[in-house]
Symmetry: C2
Subunit: 291 residues, 2 copies
């Protein structure tokens, strides 16, 4: 096992909301490694948490996490699942977290990457090793190629290239994992609202005829920001994304292969096939440049 890859001891999984934490925990258990869930109060799904060895803790109780994770013998830590950016006023820090509060306050004044990489450094200074969910559960990564029954047209490909260009251009500003492009026209750019809400906006613009496009046209393009720490925040898609893309009248979805995660690949593709949408895994930028 290489020095940079995950180790073999018990793995701490800090669990936010949604299904991902449990898909990852199942994959880890299946690989023969013990997952220990650190479920965040208010976010993690209690029924699913109960299926695994676990502890509950408050978001700002880093001291409690550190003590329990050390007791459990966890050196590697995965952070996965939905969480909102907290307000400082709402955090109720324990003593250890209090020590880090000035740094956390500075981190909160910035984009998501800035916040997450700063949080990651705090874990590492305390002897933990931050591991990407996709490193311990590679099955969640979306693969390359045409992934369902439908394929993108040449017209869709123009939209896909333009969307990837916008995401790359905005990367330095720590914004925009996703855009919608239709007929070469950038209809929507995602910032703090999230992909589903961006797609709902496109659906409304089309329904109200504020954007006039005839037929099933346009692509949702998602890819990690160029400088993003992939251990902490990979773009996600799922059958809800497919439903929202269909409502927006799009032709399909293109995501960066190996740089986008999905909790249930089979379910995703079944939904896309049924909705008549293509799902394309595009090669990551290095391979694209080499083409």
């Amino acid at each position: 096992m290489s020095g940079n890859g995950p180790g073999n001891g018990p793995l701490a999984i800090i669990c936010g909301g949604g299904k991902f934490p449990f898909v990852v925990a199942d994959a880890v258990a299946h690989s023969g490694r013990k997952p220990v869930l650190f479920a965040i109060l208010g976010w993690a799904d209690a029924d699913a948490v109960a299926r695994f060895p676990h502890h509950w803790f408050g978001l700002a109780r880093f001291g409690r996490f550190r003590r329990l994770a050390r007791q459990e013998g966890c050196r590697d830590v995965v952070i996965i699942g939905t969480m909102l950016r907290p307000s400082l006023l709402q955090l109720r820090p324990d003593l250890t977290t209090l020590f880090y509060m000035p740094r956390i306050a500075r981190l909160l004044r910035g984009g998501d990457d800035h916040l997450l990489s700063g949080i990651g450094r705090i874990f590492e200074e305390n002897g933990f090793r931050l591991v990407g969910a996709h490193q311990v559960a590679p099955g969640i990564l979306v693969p390359q190629g045409v992934l369902g029954a439908h394929a993108p047209s040449a017209r869709d490909q123009v939209d896909i290239d333009r969307g990837l260009g916008v995401i790359a251009a905005m990367g330095p500003f720590d914004v925009g994992q996703a855009v919608v492009v239709a007929d070469g026209y950038v209809l929507a750019v995602e910032a703090a609202e999230g992909t589903d809400q961006m797609l709902a906006r496109v659906a409304t613009l089309r329904r109200d005829r504020r954007v006039r496009l005839d037929g099933k046209v346009g692509v949702l393009v998602k890819a990690p920001k160029p400088a993003q720490d992939r251990r902490l925040d990979l773009p996600t898609i799922g059958n809800r994304t497919v439903a929202a893309a269909r409502e927006a009248g799009l032709a399909g979805i293109a995501v960066e292969a190996g740089g986008t995660i999905t909790a249930d690949f089979a379910e995703l593709i079944a939904a896309a096939d049924a909705a008549g949408l293509f799902v394309l895994g595009v090669p990551p930028p290095a391979s694209r440049a080499a083409l």
Copy 2:
């Protein structure tokens, strides 16, 4: 008078919706030049149109426009006011327009700049000269400096610089005249939805605590895209922008001085002062680089 500036004959003003066409027509009349309004059916305000020499025409009736404008002796043309991107299916072109339809169809498959500069070229090929509304009515341009009773803080200035950076980066993709940045975090990027709707989204994100910011923080930043044809589509602000920015909990508005237009400057500043928001006219990029 230089060869590139507007001439002195009657000026054709192609009028979309909103107040701008009439502010421009009044300014032109006041300068001693005759405005002739070409009011677009379904968009221009009939009562206001009636105050000026005018003709009505359908959006795709270029032949009718060309004939009437030549009869009126108009060589210079201003296009101003709100209009939606039409659907090809909904256009009812006259014969002259029909001749241009293949080109228009191609222009519609692209961003706003692409569409507008292509339309501009069609006018020029027919012997008209396209003139910016701000060239014949310079009073609509937002000037430089702190423009109301409130001034941006150092914290706001960081957000302003970041917003200008995002707009510059997205310019090549013909998207994003406006962004909202708060505490260095890009909350929203405008694409097809328009500024008011983008601000409403920020208000909702904050109200639902999906974005957690305490107090009056964040800036709406608007500037023309770097490659934009300024004769056709300058960013606009007004008292509705101020109301939407206040609802979004922002500290103020920063726009490119000399590159943003407003229909009633005094009304804009009165609204901003009353709402406790700053309005800043930032120097255009060339001057910024020279600072």
